[in-house]
Amino acid sequence: MTEAVPDDTRWFYLCTEDDLAVPNAFVTTRVGAVPLVAQNLKGRVVAFRNVCTHRFAIIHDAASGCGPLRCPYHGWTFDAEGVPVGLPFNPTDFQLDAEGRRRLALNPASLARCGRLVFVRVATEGPALKEQLGNDLFTRLADLSETFSRSGEPMEPGEDWEGFETANLRVALRAGHALHLEALPPPGAGDRFARTATFLPVHADTERPA
């Protein structure tokens, strides 16, 4: 709770679209004291503060996984608007109507894409991701993510690879062969939120047409 409070309008790389491709897939992180979750809910990928609005428990403790957006404490389940739709004992003990439920919607966070890369931030308003990354870098990163779209076996970047950094992301590129992404945990997040992945071109292992 004592860590420095980072700028909540800053974007942080979270994962790729593939990580959130199936219903109920989720990925979590933390920015300062704020836990965040991005989740696929019936095909929509949305981001919230990863905290139940009932009694404030973290909803998803795992760094990633697949399961309903359901609080482990009392079983409250939330929809893509963040509104609680499953409330055990609601008829007898809460009797929350639609308005009452809306008052208890999860606190929203922001989610943006750069190509196939997914970024999140705490604030709901602020500079666009493209503004933070810069137009050129945004375009290049988006292109790279589309070119290297196939997950590969983890590999360490060689010294001769091209490298650059943006947001919490270290990018290493061996042109035509592999893209290596190393996402550092945002300020306040533990090492378990660090992520590395290697991506290959779509046709890397197939014979290219003449």
Binding site: T53, H54, Y73, H74, G75, F89, Q95, N107
Partner: protein, 332 residues
């Protein structure tokens, strides 16, 4: 709508759950003023000592030929304690300057002093005290223990099946200020298990009741009992703004511990109950810690259902105690 959306001023501000300032104020106005549970002396009457550490205060209660006495150390500052008992349960508070200044222990426990005294008769055959650290503010543990809703989600294979399947119908909760008494009817299978145990051990019982009872006393004590026999005093000790220790002790009182076989059976039963109780607490620990992590990030004030009012009672009592507007010595 039976849910209650608390208004500002009706609950503790969230930052009280993680700031040094919050804990310092509690040290002075809650733990430095309220009656606090210290423990149970053995039945020998021999000189003995109980100690407790809460929010940086060190409490020591002594029993000797002159009776009960105690001191509270706060760094270099040493203050005398006022010590009193409710049956076998020993309580103390930092002594007030005037005899009229503050509630008696019986007033503080009101209206549960007699019930607690009756239950405390069963504080015999003690097991070793247990302390389980939580990475959470002490109040998160208090809130959790007064929460009737998490049985099916947090304890689906332990305490939840031990109580009656229709627990909502059979749960009765009395509230008086921040003190309360919650009573859960045991599941038939659980009651049957206790009945067999009773037949074998001839349990000492303070009441014929096939229930799990839970009496909470402000600010950080609760006495749990099963089947009107086993009693388990619990105390939540603040260690740091985001750390606490849940201390508890199991008593399995029996009227028959004469033969080696009876003693062995009692020992193995007590060990089983200790393991079970520890298992339940180990299920509570991650959710309390998850609340500690989540509360710092929430923008709203939550909502409290019909059976969660005890938690708000506790908040209201804390606010009064911290503001210095509660009766000194704290009638919750």
């Amino acid at each position: 709508m039976t849910a209650l959306f608390p208004e500002a001023g009706g609950f503790l501000p969230h930052h009280h759950f993680w700031t040094e300032e919050g804990l310092a104020l509690e040290r002075e106005r809650v733990f430095g003023r309220c009656w606090l549970y210290m423990g149970v002396f053995d039945a020998t009457g021999a000189p003995a000592e109980l100690t407790a550490d809460m929010a940086g205060l060190r409490f020591t209660v002594r029993r000797d030929a002159a009776g009960l006495s105690g001191i509270c150390r706060d760094g270099d500052r040493v203050r005398p304690l006022e010590v009193d008992c409710c049956g076998a349960l020993v309580f103390a508070r930092v002594a007030r300057e005037s005899a009229e200044d503050g509630l008696t222990l019986a007033e503080h426990l009101h209206p549960y002093a007699e019930r607690l005294a009756a239950m405390s008769v069963n504080c015999v055959n003690p097991e070793l005290p247990v302390g389980i650290p939580f990475q959470a503010n002490w109040k998160a543990l208090v809130e959790n223990t007064m929460d009737d809703f998490h049985g099916s989600t947090v304890h689906p294979e332990t305490i939840h099946p031990a109580v009656h399947p229709d627990w909502q119908t059979h749960l009765t909760t009395e509230r008086f200020g921040a003190n309360s008494d919650s009573c859960w009817r045991l599941a038939d299978g659980t009651a049957g298990w206790w009945a067999k145990l009773d037949a074998k051990l001839r349990l000492a019982k303070f009441a014929d009741e096939a229930v799990y009872r839970h009496i909470f006393i402000f600010p950080n004590f609760y006495l749990a009992s099963f089947y009107g026999a086993t009693v388990i005093p619990h105390r939540v000790d603040p260690v740091a703004p985001d750390a606490a220790v849940l201390r508890w002790q199991l008593f399995l009182p029996t009227t028959r511990l004469e033969t080696p076989r009876e003693r062995a059976f009692h020992r193995s039963t007590a060990a089983y109950l200790l393991t079970s109780a520890s298992g339940v607490i180990e299920e509570d620990r991650p959710v309390c810690e998850a609340v500690q992590q989540g509360r710092a990030a929430i923008l709203g004030n939550g909502v409290y259902g019909r059976r969660e009012r005890r938690i708000l009672d506790f908040h209201v009592a804390m606010l009064a105690q911290l503001a210095g507007t509660a009766a000194t010595g704290s009638r919750p």
